[in-house]
């Protein structure tokens, strides 16, 4: 990957629809199939790079895409990008049940371009589980890398002080410099507040837990 700071597309994930077998008179039973529709921003079709999610006891997932061919009139068409991708080794047992997964465009059977809507069909045939779903669904757009960026261009950008350079994956210099300034100020404060007590590496209250790291 290029290491760019790619944000997921803002999409709206509809509530999952669990399909039932039978009707309300004879007694509907869960079918083990669930449909989750993900609507992408209206009027802005997306070229999908990757779909990521966290599994919650789904055994197989099928990905369907609603694509609109650009320039051509006519309705958008549904197609299957991935059929029955297994997320759990065995639908009855835990392995894979809570894993983080991603589906890359290279795994898909069709080009996931000009997509206006994504439909995820979840299957969980085992009766061992009370419920199943996918969480934290994110769709990442495909970003074309800029092919014309060569070293000489990059160097000449550096000498043009007043121009805003074309940042390829680098954070904004203003933000970085202001954070460094803040940190500098902090170090000055800490220098003046030096005590003889040993701070110890990453110590907080005698604890070695790095997650509790604090600057105060």
């Amino acid at each position: 990957m290029s290491g760019e700071d790619v944000q997921p597309v803002s999409c709206s994930i509809k509530p999952p629809v669990y399909l039932q077998m039978g009707d309300s008179e004879t007694g509907a039973a869960p079918s083990g199939v669930c449909v989750v529709d993900v609507a992408l921003p209206f009027g802005k079709p997306v070229n999908i790079q990757e779909i990521t999610f966290k599994n919650y006891y789904t055994a197989y997932v099928t990905v369907r895409l609603l694509r609109k061919s650009p320039g051509q009139e006519g309705p958008a068409k549904w197609c299957t990008a991935l059929r029955d991708l297994p997320l759990m080794d065995n639908p009855h047992t835990e392995a894979g049940s809570q894993d983080y997964c991603s589906v890359h465009r290279a795994q898909m059977q069709v080009e996931p371009d000009h997509v206006t809507s994504v439909r995820l069909i979840l299957r969980q045939p085992s009766s061992a589980w009370l419920t199943f779903s996918l969480e934290e669904v994110n769709i990442f757009p495909h970003v074309e890398p800029n092919p014309e960026k060569e070293v000489s261009d990059w160097l000449s950008d550096l000498t043009l002080v007043d121009q805003h350079p074309d940042l390829e994956g680098l954070p904004d210099p203003q933000t970085v410099s202001s954070s460094i300034q803040q940190m500098w100020a902090l170090t000055e404060v800490m220098q003046t507040n030096q005590t003889t007590a040993s701070i110890g590496r990453y110590d907080v209250d005698g604890c070695y837990d790095i997650n509790l790291l604090s600057l105060t």
Partner: protein
């Protein structure tokens, strides 16, 4: 200008963090605790178990008025340094100390483990389970085990049984993977110590010796409450054992150092819980709280290694790779939860009459087998047999063979067990395993059971 070392590290961390580009989204950022243990309810159970154990230790400290850690006065340090090699001669008063927990307490926790999303209702058609473990982990059955443990088939020679078998010569080029493969059919006695050290990458470099010496210095300087628990455990278990009592002093040395070894914190990378908050201000501790029988993890190794720093480094590596999984809650296939489930499944599938009978008389098989598995059979088998079992743990890099042996033992004694009418008499039938030959039992169970 001068930075205090720790603040400098903090600044560097923050600097790197802000300048580092966002991770590409091709691998969604799973939080670190998820990488160690993917199931949320297991993480929670392990965290709450650890909290309980620590709380118990803290109350013991308060009740007995013994601090969790204290610096030894100079005279005491000198005395301890002098009798470092004969700590067993000491007879401190340990009557008021009791183990923080015993295996059966841990078993109750495992029995209570539940997946909140699991439908445990009886109406569910999934194969009903007669045993005590109620979490649906994937465990291997006999056909799968036959494929995975093909080197143990009845037609393949095993060292210790078929010593005339044709076995490839030992590879002396310090090849760890080859040593592991060799170990699957058992190590010959003379080579075992070197082979295990090779498999575990425990080469006793100068820095290992130095590390061990630093730890012994730590033992001399500070006294920990946990030390008393270690003394008591050694006295109650290893010292009472015909095979291991001669190693009493070694056991003290190794275990006292182990309880101070923060490098053991490394193993928490693989364990689901983050290291609990240190309850000893500024004192370095490994935070492994010994339970009743813990010293039995070390005792068999004393037959292989007589140099303390080497013994220590092999034990530590065995603990970090295998033994810790026997007393933590995780979904790992080598974890105690999987082993218990596998034992119960093997028994129910292949000895259903026996399982049903034992259940009817109130003798759930796991209640008997658990103590064997938690100690990887140490203290229950004769030492030569135990070492042959541990050869396979190393050879297959898995504790699964422990669950298989437990089922095989029940299969072996099935006839007698069918006659008993109470838990007590079932325990009696299975009380003495010292005459068992492990490899024939495992081989027959895996490869001769009709399926």
């Amino acid at each position: 200008f001068f930075f205090k070392e720790s603040s400098q590290n903090v600044i560097c961390l923050l600097l790197f963090d802000s300048l580092r580009p966002q991770l590409p989204p091709s691998h969604p950022a799973a939080p670190p605790e998820h990488l160690k243990e993917p199931l949320a309810y297991m993480r929670k159970a392990q965290a709450s178990w650890e909290k309980r154990v620590l709380k118990s230790l803290n109350s013991m400290s308060t009740e007995l008025g013994v601090p969790l850690a204290r610096m030894r006065p100079a005279a005491e340090q000198k005395e301890l340094a002098n009798k470092w090699n004969e700590m067993g001669t000491d007879e401190p008063d340990l009557t008021s100390f009791r183990p923080v927990y015993a295996p059966k307490d841990f078993l109750e926790v495992l029995i209570g483990l539940r997946n909140p999303n699991h439908d445990g209702s009886e109406a569910v058609g999934v194969r009903s389970h007669w045993g005590l473990i109620q979490v649906p982990l994937n465990v291997r059955d006999i056909p799968q085990l036959r494929r995975a443990y093909s080197e143990l088939s009845l037609t393949t020679g095993q060292l210790g049984i078929d010593d005339h078998a044709h076995i490839h010569p030992v590879i002396v080029e310090q090849d760890s993977a080859a040593a592991q493969q060799y170990s699957r059919q058992g190590c010959s006695t003379g080579l075992r110590a070197d082979l295990w050290a090779l498999i575990l990458n425990s080469n006793n470099q100068p820095q290992d010796v130095m590390h061990y010496e630093q730890l012994t210095a730590g033992v001399i300087q500070h006294d920990l409450l946990v030390d008393n628990l270690i003394y008591k455990d050694v006295k109650l278990t290893a010292s009472n054992d015909d095979y291991y009592f001669v190693f009493e002093d070694f056991l003290y040395q190794v275990l006292l150092c182990f309880s101070r070894d923060t490098a053991v914190l490394e193993h928490f990378k693989y364990n689901s819980a983050t290291p609990p908050r240190s309850f000893i201000q500024g004192e370095r501790m490994s935070r492994v709280i010994p339970f009743h029988g813990f010293s039995m993890y070390v005792a068999p190794l004393c037959f292989l290694y007589n140099e303390p720093s080497k013994l220590y480094s092999v034990f530590r590596e065995m603990y970090i790779r295998y033994f810790f999984r026997l007393h933590s809650i995780s979904s790992s296939p080598s974890g105690i939860v999987s082993l218990c489930l596998q034992f119960e499944r093997l028994l129910q599938t292949h000895l259903p009459q026996l399982f049903y009978h034992l259940r009817q008389i109130g003798a759930q098989p796991l209640r008997i087998a658990f103590k064997w598995m938690v100690r990887a059979f140490s203290g229950y088998l004769s030492t030569d047999q135990l070492l042959l079992l541990w050869d396979r743990i190393l050879g297959y890099d898995s504790l699964e063979v422990v669950a298989v042996l437990a089922a095989a033992v029940f299969a072996f004694r099935a006839e007698n067990l069918m006659e008993v009418t109470s838990l007590g008499s079932a325990e009696a039938v299975l009380a003495d395993l010292s005459t068992l030959k492990v490899m024939p039992l495992i081989q027959v169970f895996l490869f001769a059971t009709a399926i």
